[in-house]
Symmetry: C2
Subunit: 413 residues, 2 copies
């Protein structure tokens, strides 16, 4: 499952928006959003209405653990959020699923939802599942399994560096955990029609990608299949919501002992090249989680789109625009948790007192500090298999998941 | 993979023969054969030509281990048979793949190819792989996984009762061996297009069945992925040949370290209801492997189609027709290995000296003896998991298969 900050959209697949089934034909929308394609300027309110989700209320926001990504409504809508909040508030079992498609190094944007999930885990005891869809990435990309495997291992180090509690976290790799994922996906696939997949994911080039939505649905149900019915929240970019809807539909059709997973829907984070410029991979460099401070500074200084004026005089006189300034947006999303401090920065920028260069330096400092801590934990990791072991599904959990999905053991193990 | 004697065709799927791509449009054929549908009277010569396979030569027949199913050309055509025979003759590695779709009890016809494979194994040391496609049966049938699992366990007891050499035999169950099958199937699925699957298998109702051909192709390549490049023969009914062709195509596209699997193509065995009457399940009762002698006798006496005349006088005078007589055909296929004895029986039937009832009694006797031995071995089996263990892929074999397929271990196990 793509995370909500994945700026790297698949350039190869397009879905006519009509096929989605959730778009009313009388809307003259100027933008298109499907799991594989975003075009035009996104109207987030319309998107929520189109998908039949609900905007988060102030009251819901306050019931979540405090986090800038929620408080400032980067995650701004959802599905079945109240069920999740009730369980989290009552100390009842509740889960978060947030995955990663390991087709390259992880960037700053990829890891922010994981840190959000870690906050949820720390504050309300959420179980966190992190599925890695190496199968899907192998099928969708011009890469060998060897290459995808290398990225998977590097990505795993980053996921481990987040510092989840192994007792409440399961990391699942599609090829390495196929013993449990494939049979459950088959169960879900029994009533997943080609028409549904094509409507939501677009026409697929291979039968592998036709089947993959069943695997993805399995990811979202896994916490409940392992540990019983409980509210599950899937934080994703709003364009990925159809994936959750597919899972909700098949879960209901198959009468599995699960609740339909809920969703926490986010806005797209802009790439360094600026808002509305997140078309395909490679447009602008990203900040990788392994970048050293010099590289971070160089990347931001060279590539970050700013809201500053063309000349110093102009800027001092008319002020900058923080709403389109990427360094400011990074602070707003994640790196400046203090609302008053953020507003002071915005005001100074708007007033022309703070220059674009200063704002870049501020963002560089915060990001560098964040990465230093992340890299410290990453570098302290031992051999991957050893580190991963406590996060993998146990044999008993595998057995329980298959049993819950109605796939009994044939050979009695 | 359906075996060549499976009289139970899927009634739900039909493929326009044009979609097969191997039928020349100028033929005015009066019959249709696809993996899911047989209709009309089958012309076996045309079928071989249509599929681009080759009829077995006398010389090839003599190089196979002696067996009535070959000597009498129930298996009458093939693909890459010489490669297989050369390896078998030279004592080089060679493999046979013959599977089972566990959607019900195994009938007499289902088990005959397994006994043929056992003969090959005993005489030339063939490695035998027996894949059980419980995933496909779950997807294609109105049955739960619990029901399919029950049939799988019962079928496994029958497969074990055949008496394969565990050192040279691997039994693979799609759901229970998904750890190795699914990642390899994904590798094969990367270039398996929906159009190819639809042309060969017809339009599918679910994404599970769209993907399944990749799993089936995995079955056919598994012996080589585990133990290195070697000729592999797949004995199947001629209508299943397109499945082998799909596998041959994807193996070539993915440049895997394997030879394209060969095929040994068989005629359809008639159901008890007679030749050309093998439309769908349930038309006529079958002889189950667990039937007692009384049931066998009752079933054959009541249901077997004969080539006898309507009255005793008529029969004595004009004689019977062994070519359509099902009890005689059972003797011919498998149960009367002596050619001279078979010809004596045929001659006596044609002369009117042997009555249909006598011929039935003869077949009943042979079948009952065969089943008694099979059931003796079946009843002597211990707990299923224990018996199955020496036939399952070892951890090292699993690792080797994945490595050969270019799916390296992500987590270093």
């Amino acid at each position: 499952m793509s995370d909500p900050t994945d700026n790297h959209r698949e350039p190869n697949a397009t879905t006519p928006p009509e096929a989605d089934g959730s778009r009313s034909s009388d809307e003259a929308d100027e933008f298109t959003v499907t799991p594989y394609a975003v075009s035009g300027e996104v109207n987030y309110d319309k998107l929520v209405a189109r998908f039949g989700a609900a905007e988060l209320t102030d009251e819901q926001i306050t019931r979540f653990p405090d986090h800038p990504l929620l408080r400032r409504r980067t995650f701004y809508a959802g599905r079945d959020v109240d069920d999740y909040l009730a369980a989290a508030g009552a100390g009842d079992p509740h889960a978060v699923v947030t995955g990663r498609g390991p087709s390259g190094p992880m960037h700053l944007g990829h890891v922010l939802p994981l840190y959000l999930a870690k906050r949820f885990q720390r504050e309300t005891g959420a179980t966190v599942y992190v599925p890695l869809s190496d199968d899907e990435k192998f099928l969708a990309k011009e890469q060998s399994f060897a290459s995808i495997g290398e990225h998977t291992r590097e990505n795993l180090r980053d996921i481990l560096a987040v510092g989840f509690d192994p007792a409440r976290t399961r990391i699942v790799i599609d090829t390495a955990d196929a013993d449990v994922l494939y049979p459950i996906a088959v169960r879900l696939a029994k009533h997943l029609t080609p028409a549904t997949v094509e409507a939501v994911y677009g026409e697929q080039d291979t039968v592998g990608l036709q089947f993959y939505p069943a695997v993805q649905a399995t990811h979202l149900l896994l916490p409940q299949l392992v540990a019983g019915r409980q509210p599950t929240l899937v934080p994703i970019a709003v364009d990925q919501d159809p994936h959750v809807r597919v899972c909700r539909d098949v879960a209901a059709k198959e009468a599995l002992p699960v609740r339909k997973p809920g969703a926490l829907l986010g806005r797209f984070l802009p790439s360094l090249a600026g808002p509305g410029k997140m078309s395909s991979s490679g447009d602008a460099p990203s900040i990788e989680l392994t970048d050293d401070p010099e590289t971070v500074a160089e990347t931001i200084h060279t590539h970050a789109y700013t809201g500053g004026r063309p000349t110093l005089e102009d800027h001092r006189e008319k002020g900058g625009d923080p709403t389109v300034d990427v360094p400011f947006q990074y602070l707003r999303y994640f790196f400046e948790p203090d609302d008053d401090e953020l507003e002071r920065i915005a005001a100074a920028y708007r007033a022309g007192d703070l220059l674009s260069g200063d704002l870049k330096d501020l963002a560089i400092e915060r990001i560098t500090d964040f990465l230093a801590a992340h890299q410290r934990r990453r570098n302290a990791l031992d051999e991957l298999a050893t580190e991963l072991e406590p996060y993998r599904l146990t044999d008993e959990e595998r057995r329980r998941a298959l049993d819950s999905a109605g796939v009994p053991s044939v050979v009695g193990v």
